[in-house]
């Protein structure tokens, strides 16, 4: 099957029918580009709809949407999305300029990059791209524990940002050939078998590419549920022989050749551009891949790689496996099988015959009826997800119009078990299938929500609200304090910013009682913010 490559990125025009229950209709465009993928039940192309003026969007809807698609709503953004509408905001976001990282000097430390990531998340307009790129970086993980210089890490972040709205195949390819990933999971300088030394190709990248970056260990139905075999057990997607097949594919690659240098078997560490192939260091035998495919012997290094990545990319697991994780990062830990299936089908075909169109996938995730249970009372018990520490901190800072050099967020991420850019292993800070103890509810971020981290998060809020996060971060509460003469009015405003205007009556009552007993308007404001942002209703994006 031919699949999308970087040459045929022609995006279908997406039309949103707001009238038909937020149903997405993909107009089949001309961008299929010879792709022979044919969906089983392609929706008929609707007649062009002349867009009526968008109905005024409730602030609650705009705020919830921004919680899912940015590093935190602000009053200004909420008002903005009320005017653009959701699809209008998505279109803006897809077109927004990509936030940047300074060109790092060789062997320079990672700390400034950590801080820049925070600063970008706080301030830059490409919020959705950053949020998606961060999520992708938690699926295709590298860690500062090993990739500990800026010149190694920054190009990888740029790949994630550049490909976040692109095609998943390109992402897979660019991640695979990233020297940072090459070093992190040992594909760089992975030698072909040397018979005298009896050392085999390194299996690290081969295994984690399949287990974590693309298909997972068990066969999935399109709705993300696990396929059970006749023996009553989940059906594995691959075995050790296939791992070794891919390990053989991933031989013969080394660091990019430094300008002015000559390609060697093992180029010295250099992180600018993709890894380069050296045919003489590539396994020449046949290679067993997924689904019974075997690559013939003697293929060129890059042909083997391209064939193998397409073999992975076209595995039916990718849509539900990656789609569900992106849903979990953006919207809810517990999507229904139907939601996963709707997104997976868009992954399989964006409506124009293109597989792996991430822009379409992200649109499908955010515009799905299950994501858009925006009205009070529509929520289901398993909805929402725990804000991970970075998102918790940036949401707070953005909501309060804080200015920050990012350092306080970086420093506090450690005690919250999310040391930025330093996940403990390729398995990220938390796994997608983490079950909240004693329940059957998934809550990936609950892996790092424990006695110690919950207190650390509350204490971060305390430092921010009561002004002790350090000189690099300042927050000006004066405009809120100015309204605090009327505690109910103050709560209305904070409710709109932090709990999408849906604070429960009980919560509101308890906070109102407490802050009404505080006469100093500044301290009243501080207490109100503190109680809202330390509450579980705020910790859990829902």
């Amino acid at each position: 099957m031919r699949t999308a490559t970087s040459n045929d990125h022609t995006w279908p025009k997406l039309l949103v029918s707001l009238t038909a229950g937020m149903l997405l209709i993909f107009q089949v465009g001309c961008g299929g580009g010879g792709n022979n993928f044919t969906p089983a039940a392609a929706p008929p192309a609707p007649p062009p709809i002349s867009a009526p003026p968008p109905p005024p969007l409730p602030a609650a809807t705009a705020a919830r949407f921004l919680e899912q698609s940015t590093f935190g709503p602000t009053p200004e953004l909420i008002a903005h999305v009320q005017t653009t509408g959701l699809q209008g905001y998505l279109d803006e976001q897809f077109a927004a300029p990509i936030s940047t990282y300074d060109e790092p000097a060789a062997a320079s430390p990672l700390a400034p990059v950590q801080a820049r990531l925070v600063v970008n998340a706080l301030n830059d307009p490409d919020q959705l791209r950053q949020r998606v790129a961060f999520a992708l970086g938690e699926i295709m993980v590298i860690s500062g524990d090993k990739i500990n210089t800026a010149d190694a890490f920054v190009p990888y972040l740029r790949v994630l940002h550049a490909d976040a709205f692109g095609n998943f195949y390109d992402l897979l390819n660019d991640v695979t050939l990233s020297p940072a990933m090459g070093h992190y999971l040992d594909m760089v300088n992975n030698d072909k078998t040397t018979l005298d030394a009896k050392i085999g190709p390194n299996e690290n990248y081969a295994r984690e590419l399949m287990q974590l970056f693309s298909i997972g260990v068990v066969r999935l139905n399109m709705d993300g549920t696990v396929q059970i075999g006749s023996d009553g057990n989940p059906i594995p997607t691959y075995d050790q022989d296939i791992v070794e097949g891919f390990a053989h594919v991933f031989t013969g690659w080394t660091y990019p050749t430094k300008p002015g240098a000559t390609l060697a078997k093992h180029n010295p560490p250099y992180y600018s551009g993709p890894m380069v192939a050296l045919q003489s260091n590539h396994e020449t035998g046949s290679k067993l891949l997924l689904n019974g495919v075997t690559l013939p012997p003697g293929q060129p290094t890059d042909k083997d790689l391209s064939d193998a990545l397409h073999n992975v990319f076209n595995h039916p697991n990718v849509g539900p496996f990656i789609g569900k994780q992106l849903i979990q990062h953006l919207v809810t830990s517990n999507p229904s099988p139907e939601y996963v299936k709707r997104v997976a089908l868009v992954f399989n075909d964006n409506g124009a015959g293109v597989r792996g169109d991430l822009r379409a996938v992200i649109t499908a995730i955010l515009m799905d009826p299950e994501a858009r249970r925006d009205s009070a009372g529509q929520s289901q018990p398993g909805d929402g997800h725990m804000k991970e520490p970075l998102l918790y901190m940036t949401s707070l800072l953005r909501g309060l119009h804080a200015t920050s050099d990012g350092k306080a967020v970086v420093a506090n991420s450690v005690a919250m078990e999310q040391n930025l850019l330093h996940p403990p292993s390729v398995f990220n800070y938390f796994p997608p299938n983490y079950q909240i103890p004693g329940t059957t509810t998934l809550g990936p971020e609950f892996k790092i929500w424990d006695n110690a981290t919950s207190v650390a998060r509350i204490n971060f809020a305390n430092s921010l609200v009561y002004g002790s996060l350090g000189s690099g971060t300042t927050v000006d509460l004066s405009s809120l304090v100015a309204q605090a003469g009327d505690p109910a009015k103050l709560l209305d405003q904070l409710d709109a910013e932090f709990t999408h205007s849906q604070m429960s009556t009980a919560m509101r009552g308890a906070i109102l009682t407490t802050i009404s007993g505080i006469t100093d308007t500044r301290r009243r404001t501080q207490a109100a913010i503190y109680l809202i942002v330390t509450s579980s209703q705020y910790q859990v994006q829902h």
Partner: protein, 450 residues
Amino acid sequence: MTVSRRDFLRLSCCSAAVGMAANFSKFGLINAMAAPADDYKALVCIFLFGGNDANNMVVPLSSADYGNYAKVRGALALPQASLLPVMPPSAGAPFGLHPNLPELQSLFNQKKLAVLTNVGVLVKPVTRAEYLARSAAVPSHLFSHADQQAQWQTSIPSGISDTGWAGRTADKIEAIYGKPTFPTVVSVAGTNIFCDGINTHPATVSPDSSQLLSGFNGSAESNARMSALQQLLTFDSGMSLIQAASGTTANALKNGDLLAKALASVTALATPFPATTLGKQLSQIAKLIQVRAALGLKRQIFFCSLQGFDTHSDQLNHHQALYSQVAPAMAAFENATIEMGVEPQVTSFTLSDFGRTFLPASGGGTDHAWGSHQFIMGGAVQGGDFYGKFPSLVLSGPDDTGDEGRWIPTTSLDQYAATLASWFGVPATDLPSVFPNIGNFASPTLRFLG
């Protein structure tokens, strides 16, 4: 299939007496030898995340066996002269510990440290022939980090378990000793399924900081804000994740309070700990043992961990750094138990995802494998010896799953863990409900704890 593991004959003769390390104070020595004044026991799990290459942790030293090791391991082979010799009586042959484990060699010689060889997750005993024919049940998704970590922690080798064997052990213990106000199980390394029971829920304690809310000064306003915060945690939102979040925070506040009061009641331990990741965690565990009486605990289980054992490349350097952290931290902890007079009542043990291929991989490292060796340390340990069966270090040999040296375990995690749980006080009749597959193995418990 009969017995999958074969204990070495244990010889009764003692090896040469080894003097106590100089820093074991006379005071500690007396305490260590005194009969325990209270009925107290603790288990301390040290999880080596990533899959520790025990092939380079415990190396055969006899010339033929070392020669074979060096031939296969090539550049990864540790020089024979650098290995720290130990003479396990049951093996009848010398072995060497990794050169960065001198503290553990010393503890081994003091008979406070034992090695359990080629232990791993199993459904039931399995041979190479059965493995190759796929005719025997084996744990699901072998050689996968996430799956094998979960299996080591849950003792459930296939399917999903929502409890760990420490949590289930605590369930049984609390059925005997009653439910304490402070949790029986404590992790100083975040949440891990190891700690979750059916009826018992662990506390997580940070190794670095206190677990108290900052910003409360006892004023009326401060107290009102605190009671509002507590009140908000009780509201039923009807949403599972919010409820779960509130439950954790409420426990955090309660446990943090209990712990702060208990810690205020004791003077700090004199035993120095290294200021490393593992050293800080074990230091915190020592403090939690120190305040056991104040917390009203007769049994405690702890979890701590160290990351970084996934040594696919540059293993020699990584191992040097990792073991240089493990051994001093473990030795400091043992010293702290002596200082507290509880050395015979505290048993520490290592777990890890899996062993690693005996055959090196490109890049100076090793790939994921299966059976591995583990350390057990403490005053109750029948130390100075090896338990289990040392694997035949032969590629495509009787213990290999294939041709890269992935050792098929000859002792089950279930037997290892059940031995620890039995010593801890779980009745024999309860073992099958804590370790569902224990009946698949000829001997449910091993002899490293007497």
